[in-house]
């Protein structure tokens, strides 16, 4: 990995102290930190180039529009798809809701929507609502006792239900498991399913090639990949995407409006009513540039080595129990300590400057399946280092001592 100490300097938030300790940020699964280049891009837009897009003939509007559309091209290149297949949304959650709402007329009573048991609420509830609207049934691929969807079970469950819609996360937000979505999608397609992959967690760590993955829809959140909050992406294969009805309506997305009738533009414009989150798009453009400058293979190997070290260090603490797939993993681990409440440990860790997530992680059904009320989740990114893990482990040992002492 190109000099990690150098890269860390690009992240101003990492340079602070919390409760008198240097911040150890291990909550990148919730949101990634932002490099200075992203902050600068947003700053530059508001201090120099602020104008609305697709509207004015004046210079600033031209600049804003060009840069804004350039980011869409950049993203499309990153994902190996066409720019017209990428819709800006407010986040991965809205992206899923847009698809679920749009499929309403395509489902009938008795049709099956299939998801996996480890999905985030955002990849459960919109499908549950779609089922309620249409009379379709929501079915679930079960997990094993560690919280892993076993490939054989997934393929058999897909075959059993022959779903109309198949939605599955590329990687679990709670456990970090990487799922073999390419194989699952191929199987679901054999039965004519429309497929959606939730890439919110995986995108930063796996940089998927969507042509190769061959799913119909893929969703992600900019803020989990070095970008600003309030921006998501919906990728959809063009014919399917463009066939979805409009989700929200208003300015920008129309072709012609009269009081009798309105005609809409084609995708992606038809899904982008109103003024978009221009500054976030430009910030995300800087995030993509930043990622493009880092060799992916090196980054991936570095993250994986860090994760192996984290798991090793956690495993030797007596009483710690780890969940999930510890081999195929984006660098996120969930654990519990004896019967201690995750809340106490997370609060104590914070007093040592260690930021982790605790609770059910918006995956209550997964917690129920694992018979847990919550876990502590440690989620890594490439800007973490071995020192972060050493500090975390020592803070955890001190916290355990405080609790048991």
């Amino acid at each position: 990995m190109s000099d990690i100490a150098q890269l860390r300097k690009d992240f101003p938030t990492l340079k602070q102290t919390i409760e008198g300790h240097p911040l150890v940020y291990l909550d990148s699964g919730a949101t990634s930190q932002k490099p200075q280049a992203v902050i600068d891009a947003i700053n530059l837009f508001y201090t120099k180039n602020n104008a609305n897009v697709h509207r004015g003939l004046h210079t600033l509007s031209e600049i804003a529009t060009t840069e804004y559309e350039n980011v869409r091209e950049k993203l499309a290149h990153f994902l190996n798809v066409n720019a017209t297949e990428c819709v800006w949304t407010s986040g991965a959650t809205q992206s899923i809701n847009l698809v679920a709402a749009g499929l309403t007329s395509q489902l009938n009573a008795g049709d099956v929507i299939l998801i996996s048991a480890l999905e985030h609420h955002a990849n459960i509830v919109p499908w549950q609502q779609l089922a309620a609207r249409t009379g379709a049934r929501l079915e679930v691929i079960p997990i094993n006792e560690l919280g892993v969807v076993e490939p054989d079970v997934a393929l058999a469950t897909i075959k059993k239900w022959q779903p109309k819609v198949f939605a599955c996360s590329h990687a679990s937000n709670t456990l970090g498991n990487i799922q073999d979505v390419q194989t699952f999608v191929a199987q679901a397609k054999q039965f004519g399913a429309i497929t959606l992959v939730d890439g919110a967690q995986a995108f930063l760590h796996l940089r998927p090639d969507l042509r190769q993955l061959d799913c119909d829809f893929y969703v992600l959140s900019a803020h989990k990949a070095l970008g600003p909050t309030g921006l998501g992406i919906l990728y959809g294969k063009y014919a399917l995407l463009n066939a979805l009805p409009v989700y929200q309506t208003g300015g920008e997305m129309i072709q012609h409006v009269s009081f009798e009738k309105t005609t809409f533009r084609d995708a992606p414009a038809k899904f982008e009513p109103g003024t978009p989150n221009i500054s976030a798009v430009l910030g995300f453009g800087a995030a993509l540039d930043y990622l493009n400058a880092i060799d992916f293979q090196q980054m991936h190997q570095y993250e994986q080595a860090l994760f192996v070290y984290l798991v090793e260090q956690l495993s030797v603490i007596e009483g710690v129990r780890l969940y999930g797939d510890l081999v195929n993993n984006i660098g996120t681990v969930s654990f519990s300590y004896k019967s201690e409440h995750h809340y106490d440990l997370a609060m104590l860790l914070n007093s040592y400057g260690v930021a982790v997530r605790s609770g059910h992680h918006c995956t209550q059904p997964l917690m129920q399946a694992l018979n847990l009320n919550g876990t502590i989740r440690v989620s890594l990114a490439f800007y973490n280092n071995k020192d972060d893990i050493d500090c975390f482990i020592s803070a955890l040992q001190n916290s355990i001592e405080l609790i048991e002492g």
Binding site: Y343, D344, M347
Partner: protein, 135 residues
């Protein structure tokens, strides 16, 4: 332990780790609530952890009697502090307690922020609401 004793102990701590140690000790000393009393009705909503709370009035003395429990050590300790503030007080006296001010002087005010989700704010709100109903 009386509230005054708690106050003295916590005032003499230095650093967060020691405060947490004392808070968790207070929680340990708070008797566990029998399972039958851990009812839905007794639950304080708005807490990330489970918190149960019962408030009654001693008919003869007209004093407040509060019991409670939580499934986390830290919240249970903070709950013990709140209970010590209110237990044995008459409803009129209890109404005058400014729990926020007390937590401020204990140096624990950050635990009262709603975003912390530890529900201390919810606990205090529930106590004040129930006291209002008792009088």
């Amino acid at each position: 332990m009386t509230y005054q004793e708690i106050y003295n102990t916590l005032s003499n701590t230095s650093g967060w780790q020691q405060s947490y140690r004392e808070i968790m000790l207070l929680g340990k000393q708070l008797p566990a609530l029998p399972e039958v009393l851990k009812t839905e009705q007794a639950k304080v909503t708005g807490c990330e952890s489970n918190v149960w709370l019962h408030i009654e009035l001693d008919e003869q003395q007209q004093n407040l009697l509060l019991v409670g429990d939580s499934d986390t050590r830290i919240v249970k300790g903070l709950l013990a502090i709140v209970l010590a503030m209110y237990n044995g007080k008459t409803p009129t006296e209890a109404k005058q307690i400014d729990a926020y001010q007390e937590f401020e002087s204990l140096g624990l005010i950050k635990h009262l922020s709603p975003s912390r989700g530890n529900g201390i704010k919810a606990i205090v709100d529930k106590i004040q609401k129930q006291i209002a109903q008792l009088t």
